[in-house]
């Protein structure tokens, strides 16, 4: 009744091609952005911001990266964790060599290194598809993970083998390192995620996005339309790795504040993000946020929410229940709604559009 496009006439093609052609959608996005940028920083506790919101945004960004290559281009990648790691290390090396350049620039630039590595490991995708490509990207995961541990130059020859995030400031306010408050880190991260989501949406709605989807849906016909498969697939890999790299840099600098790469960027992380993409919805940007929210918030509820309600759950039990839950969720979604939460959202919107009438 309230969500309806009736009466909103499109008079130009640009109005018709807008990302949010319906007024209510634009209002909704505005409200969400206002909540995220104003209400959460003011009213959210430090605990909420640092354990719920920051991981959620980092994972959304990483899921977006994987979705570009897997959801939009149809190439399965299991190297997400490693590509995130490349971003984190690139950012670390860059900011140690050039400490005076703003860290936000380095976080974004670290994606370039990740994109180059991603395109390199994307080369086999011309010849192999499906599971075999997944195995080839798995090689990237293992090789890069090995590098993270065995090449001491990457972590500046620290005895601990961990990245130690230095303090960096923006307009005199600490945004990384021990002195940065969760709220400032959250706001910086939010800015990066909003910017990159906007750019991803622009790219995916245009010629390049159509090229990706054409390759995914029918590569023979795509070739016949004049799309060269290798450049298209490598662009997808590079763009995907760019997003993963930035997500990795954000993870290290704005969330973890330092740590061992072998823990943060291992194969489990790759799978974790793949699950987010599958549950959220392949080939959907909003699905990335849904998937990240679900897989990020459920563990937190199990870990902190249930004990608070008086259900005693030891740390290990919560962990096990979490695994059980995620596993069954994936099976559930693969059977019931292979297109994930994003499709459920679409169906809901369609229902809302016609409500209170059945059609």
């Amino acid at each position: 009744m309230f969500y309806r496009e009736a009466g909103q006439y499109k008079k130009t093609y640009s109005a018709d091609m807008a990302v949010f052609p319906i007024l209510q959608d634009r209002i909704g996005i505005g409200l969400i952005l206002a909540t995220a940028a104003i209400i959460i920083p003011i009213f959210g506790s430090n605990f909420f911001i640092s354990t719920v919101m920051i991981p959620f945004l980092v994972f959304s960004l990483a899921a977006m990266g994987l979705n570009i290559v897997t959801g939009y281009t149809g190439l399965i990648s299991l190297g997400t964790g490693a590509f995130m790691g490349v971003g984190a290390f690139a950012c670390y090396k860059l900011t140690t060599y050039f400490p005076n350049v703003n860290i936000i620039i380095w976080i974004l630039a670290s994606g370039v290194f990740s994109a180059a590595i991603g395109a390199l490991f994307g080369l086999p995708s011309l010849r192999i598809k499906g599971f075999y490509l997944a195995v080839a990207t798995l090689a990237a995961q293992f090789f890069l993970e090995w590098c993270f541990v065995r090449v001491p130059w990457l972590f500046n020859y620290n005895a601990s083998g961990a990245i130690e995030v230095p303090q960096r400031t923006l307009f005199g306010v600490a945004i990384t390192g021990a002195n940065a408050t969760p709220t400032t880190r959250y706001l910086v991260l939010l800015g990066i995620v909003v910017l990159m989501t906007w750019v991803a949406s622009n790219i995916l709605h245009g010629r390049i996005g159509r090229t990706f989807m054409a390759v995914r849906d029918m590569d023979i016909a795509a070739e016949l339309m004049g799309i060269r498969l290798l450049p298209a697939k490598l662009t997808a890999f590079a763009m995907s790795s760019f997003y993963c790299g930035v997500a990795g840099a954000c993870m290290m600098f704005l969330w973890y504040g330092g740590g061992e790469a072998s823990d943060a960027f291992n194969i489990n992380q790759s799978f974790n993000i793949l699950f987010m993409v599958i549950i959220g919805g392949l080939g959907s940007l909003i699905g990335c946020f849904f998937g990240a929210a679900l897989l990020n918030i459920v563990p937190i509820i199990l870990k902190f929410g249930l004990p608070a309600m008086g259900l005693p759950l030891a740390g290990a039990t919560a962990e096990h229940i979490n695994h059980l839950f995620v596993g069954s969720l994936i099976i559930f979604f693969l059977i019931v709604e292979p297109h994930g939460l994003a499709r459920l959202w679409q169906i809901t919107k369609q229902k809302l559009r016609t409500w209170p009438f059945p059609y």
Binding site: Y13, I203, G206, M213, A214, A222, G226
Partner: protein, 270 residues
């Protein structure tokens, strides 16, 4: 391009001149000969039908023309340029478009997006502008959208503009596929059984679209079709293949009277 292909690529070919010539093409898959020593030509502005019983090598012939298969022997001359092999995307950039026997649409995309993909080759804006979807990128997008809307209007598929093509009935999918090929503004359009599996009404619609395409856009059409009524009505000249060999070539009337063709279709007592 090897030394043999030095001949000039011609932009302008008058109607009636040879647009594409296939000379002594032989295509083998291991020991199986799909096409044996076939030669024919396609003139600009005509509807050229390729017919023959199942397995005669018709689709293989189209695949040779647009570069999916590389024949072992023989040459193909397109717009005055001779070649023995070619990549499909190069064929596309030289103006050869095609539809498939079993619909090869991009199932997850809308009708509009499918046809827009056909415009990919005409789009030139650098990557940078696509980051913002403003300025040149948006102008280009709108300009091509206008062209695509003309095709949508031409094919009478306005009502399914924003429907994912996977959900469309078969007849409409075929129509969208034709639209996607037309969006490329091809010089030569290869149609592989555009009317397979359609009812009479849909077939008539499709015939109308093919003839209109020829008249309105001046497109040369090579057509594979099993419905003999359609073939005889639509085409200017027909080439008949059987077991990979050419058995007849000529106007529909000549071909209809050819004893070999009658034998091939009706069978012959041994």
């Amino acid at each position: 391009m090897n030394a043999m292909n030095q001949s000039e690529f011609r932009q302008d070919i008058a109607p009636g001149e040879t647009l594409l010539a296939v000379d002594n093409v032989t295509l083998r898959f291991g020991g199986v000969k799909a096409i044996t020593d076939v030669s024919f030509d396609i003139r600009k502005g005509e509807v050229r039908a390729i017919i023959g019983p199942n397995g005669a090598g018709k689709t293989s012939m189209l695949n040779v023309i647009n570069g999916f298969y590389h024949p072992q022997e023989g040459r193909i001359t397109y717009r005055g340029q001779t070649r023995s092999k070619m990549r499909p995307h190069v064929a596309a950039s030289q103006g050869i478009a095609r539809t498939f026997q079993n619909v090869a649409l991009f199932k997850g995309m809308t009708t509009l997006d499918n046809i827009m993909v056909g415009r990919t080759l005409k789009m030139r804006t650098p990557f940078f502008w696509h980051l913002f979807r403003h300025g040149p990128a948006m102008r280009e997008e709108i300009e091509h959208r206008k062209f695509v809307e003309e095709i949508i209007d031409f094919l009478e598929i306005e009502h399914i503009r924003k429907v994912p093509v996977g959900k469309l009935p078969y007849g409409l999918q075929k129509r969208v596929e034709l639209g996607r090929a037309l969006a490329m503004q091809p010089e030569l359009l290869l149609l592989d059984e555009p009317m397979a599996g359609m009812n009479l009404e849909e077939k008539e619609d499709m015939c109308r679209f093919i003839l209109d395409t020829k008249d309105q856009y001046g497109t040369t059409i090579a057509l594979i079709e099993h419905d003999m009524g359609v073939v005889m009505d639509l085409s200017d000249r027909v080439v008949v293949l059987e077991y990979g060999q050419k058995i007849a070539d000529g106007t529909p009337d000549e071909v209809k009277k050819n004893q070999k063709v009658i034998d091939a279709y009706l069978g012959v007592a041994h």
